[in-house]
């Protein structure tokens, strides 16, 4: 390194180091140590942690709850990501158009962003309550029998997914709304003159132009599909029989209710592996499609 390069290097690190120290301390270090701890047993009272090799991973493979939770989480991701993005785009298009009562509609879409999920989960629970809950009151008016949305393993996960989509879509809408307003109106006018239909215009012009936003939002949606478990604490606690439990919720239970930190680390390793895979895919995609460099 030449003297100038060295000076630049020192300067750069002076600016970087405060953030990097915290970043490493609370992201990279714990990620690495998680892997390390997954090869040890959980210390309990008299018994100290000891190296157990792959024993925790053997437990993991034999743990039927883990597999249920993993499949649940993949379904949760598969459902929430495209649906919340799709709804967010529709919302943004509506709010961006000359809709009657546009400001109310925009406000309505946006409220979930500001309401704490942990509190709203109680309200959703009332909506889902069989018999006298809101959904059943409406259904009852049409002569339908009551339905136990949260208490039936067939519907519990989907009921929880609906709440997650409700929470996310309005937030994603903001990003699309900002993006839509940068699309020149001349494009739309030109398309109108050409006689292009609205759907055609959306498919051939708007959607491709929104692509960078979609990629950005989808990163968010992916994180949320593994991170957003607040409402599960209130609505189902993962039940019935783990039908609505998700990975992070199971990690929480294992670590802070069962006090089995070693197994919780092992579960976290699985979650990290999933996210790393996504990260690699995402960065490759980002690099190709959007020039962030």
């Amino acid at each position: 390194m030449g003297p100038t390069a060295k000076r630049t290097w020192i300067h750069a690190w002076l600016f970087l180091s405060p953030a990097m120290i915290l970043l490493i301390a609370f992201t990279h270090y714990p990620a690495a140590v998680t892997l390390f701890h997954s090869f040890f047993s959980t210390p309990r009272g008299k018994r100290e942690a000891k190296f157990v090799g792959l024993e925790n991973y053997e437990t993991l493979i034999a743990d039927s709850t883990f597999w249920t939770v993993l499949v649940n989480n993949l379904w949760y991701a598969l459902a929430t990501i495209p649906l919340s993005i799709g709804i967010a785009i529709a919302m943004a298009l509506w709010v961006d158009s000359k809709l009657k009562g546009r400001s109310f509609v925009r406000m309505a879409y946006f409220t979930p962003t500001v309401l704490p999920l942990i509190a709203v989960a109680n309200i959703w629970m009332f909506f889902y309550t069989p018999g006298f809950g809101l959904i059943d009151q409406i259904r009852g008016a049409f002569g339908f029998a009551q339905q136990n949305w949260l208490g039936d393993p067939e519907s519990a996960l989907n009921a929880v997914i609906v709440v997650a989509i409700w929470k996310e879509a309005g937030f994603f809408m903001i990003f699309y709304l900002a993006a839509l307003q940068t699309i020149p109106t001349s494009l739309r006018e030109a398309a109108a003159i050409e006689g292009a239909g609205r759907w055609y215009f959306f498919r051939r012009v708007t959607f491709p132009l929104l692509m960078p936003t979609t990629l950005f939002v989808s990163v968010n949606a992916i994180i949320n599909s593994f991170r957003l478990v607040d409402h599960i604490f209130i609505m189902t606690e993962g039940g019935p029989d783990n039908a609505s439990s998700l990975l992070l919720f199971y990690i929480y239970e294992t670590a802070f209710r069962f006090w089995d930190t070693a197994y919780a680390s092992t579960l976290t390793v699985v979650l990290l592996l999933i996210l790393f895979t996504v990260a690699i895919g995402q960065f490759l995609l980002l690099d190709k499609r959007v020039h962030y460099r």
């Binding site: 701890h37 040890f40 309990r44 009272g45 008299k46 100290e48 942690a49 190296f51 709850t65 629970m125 009332f126 309550t129 069989p130 018999g131 006298f132 009852g140 002569g143 339908f144 029998a145 009551q146 136990n148 949260l150 208490g151 039936d152 393993p153 189902t236 606690e237 039940g239 019935p240 029989d241 783990n242 039908a243 239970e253 802070f256 209710r257 069962f258 006090w259 089995d260």
Partner: protein, 428 residues
């Protein structure tokens, strides 16, 4: 691992020197207590501790409201691991084995010397002591305790042509009454269910009412062996499942615990099972006349107990331990226990508390308060084992699988027993 261990020891040493320095003359006690909602319970605890402090100027009690039971045990354990535990705390009675395994608490037998103290220990209801003793030693003192009871809607009973003052006393009657109480509208949809036994979150607790009535105990008193696959347990579960699947007197699927009182008030169900802790709530909010009864019997009467005990923590001086014991003795004495019970609806844990004038007046005014106490005669220890949270969670999963029809009661219970055995075999 070496790295963390070493640091851990350093922290413990530092904390110990701190706590030694802090206890020169007057005795300082830190006391964690759980109250899910502030209000009455928290106020009563604070009033009682300051009353004690006023009478004992050489003892300083710092009462810390630590949130829910879950928060309290977490906080106490974390503090104990860091070498700075509270001196005493109210924690769930079922967490006893966890606290023992963590070597966080001491047995009361080691602190009790006089005959008078021994007599004091004997005066608690035996049903409550079951969850407080193991291996011949007493680790917890009952304080914030409850038990499930049955509430019924007298108006609904009248409408169904039943005697509003006679609740179902047996399993058979529960089904019979339930059938009469289940009301359908013209299109065949149910508008009122006969029975509601909530099964969300911690279904094992109310289910333990059924197993006890079927004359079977779910876990041994050493906390290292469960009895989930016993035919009598399976039979009890079959009965619970049949209430909705076969007899159709209870809503299908998992029934939410939290929405249960509201469902009762709304007339969604005519009978509900829930904690005695709901007495005041139901008394204030039910828009109809209601009754409170013991759970119905099958082979016998029965119910689990629930709630929190006092524990004394190990990592404190002898003077602190003696002061803690003195405080516990004082707060569980008849007068204080009665005050506590009246304010909160928890069951006063000693017979002599029910003999006080205050308590007698309260019971005369509100007789349902007696039901819980009378049920104690038939009550057993709440399910509690080593690795308690994990074992009950396995058991809950099994119950939920059977209730939702995912597996038969037999499959579900055999599966739960197998999983529990795998974890508990290390403790035998």
């Amino acid at each position: 691992m070496h790295f963390t261990k070493k640091l851990g020891i350093g922290a413990v040493a530092a904390a110990m020197s701190l706590s030694l320095a802090g206890t020169a003359q007057a005795v300082d006690l830190q006391f964690f207590f759980p109250v899910a909602v502030g209000g009455k319970a928290a106020d009563t605890i604070e009033a009682l501790t300051s009353e004690y402090a006023a009478a004992n100027p050489d003892v300083k009690i710092d009462a810390v409201y630590a949130g829910s039971y879950q928060n309290t045990v977490t906080k106490a354990l974390t503090a104990a691991r860091g070498g700075q535990p509270p001196q005493l705390s109210v924690i769930l009675s079922v967490d006893m084995f966890t606290l023992i395994e963590e070597e966080a608490i001491v047995a009361f037998d080691d602190l009790i010397k006089t005959d008078e103290d021994k007599a004091w220990l004997k005066a608690f209801y035996p049903a409550f002591m079951e969850n407080s003793q193991t291996g011949g030693k007493t680790y917890g003192i009952p304080f914030q305790r409850s038990t499930p009871v049955m509430y019924w809607n007298k108006e609904a009973f009248k409408k169904a042509g039943l005697d509003p003052n006679t609740p179902p006393a047996t399993w058979k009657e529960l089904v019979e009454f339930g059938k009469k109480l289940t009301v359908k509208d013209a299109s065949g949809n149910v508008t009122q269910w006969g029975v509601r036994i909530p099964s969300s979150g911690f279904p094992y607790w109310l289910f333990q009412g059924l197993t006890t009535e079927n004359d079977v105990i779910l876990a041994n008193s050493d906390g290292n062996k469960t009895n989930f696959a016993d035919p009598k347990v399976i039979e009890a579960l079959q009965y619970l499942v049949d209430l909705s699947a076969k007899h159709k007197v209870m809503a299908p699927g998992i029934i939410e615990w939290g929405a249960t009182p509201k469902a009762f008030f709304e007339g969604e169900s005519a009978i509900m099972w829930t904690s005695t802790g709901n007495l005041t709530n139901v008394r204030d909010n039910a828009p109809f006349e209601f009754g409170v009864a013991m759970l119905p019997a099958n082979k016998r009467r029965g119910a689990p107990t629930g709630g929190g005990n006092f524990y004394i923590f190990k990592d404190s001086t002898d003077a602190q331990k003696a002061a803690s014991l003195d405080f516990i003795k004082w707060i569980t004495a008849p007068k204080q226990a009665a005050k506590w019970s009246i304010a909160t609806g928890y069951v006063a844990p000693r017979a002599d508390a029910w003999e006080t004038a205050e308590m007698k007046a309260y019971v005369a005014d509100f007789p349902p308060a007696l039901v819980a106490r009378n049920q104690l005669e038939y009550a057993v220890a709440e399910l509690s084992t080593y690795q308690n949270q994990r074992i009950t969670s396995i058991f809950n999963d099994g119950l939920e699988a059977a209730i939702t029809g995912k597996s038969s009661p037999e499959e579900a219970m055999n599966d739960a027993q197998q999983k529990a055995d795998k974890i508990l075999k290390d403790y035998r």
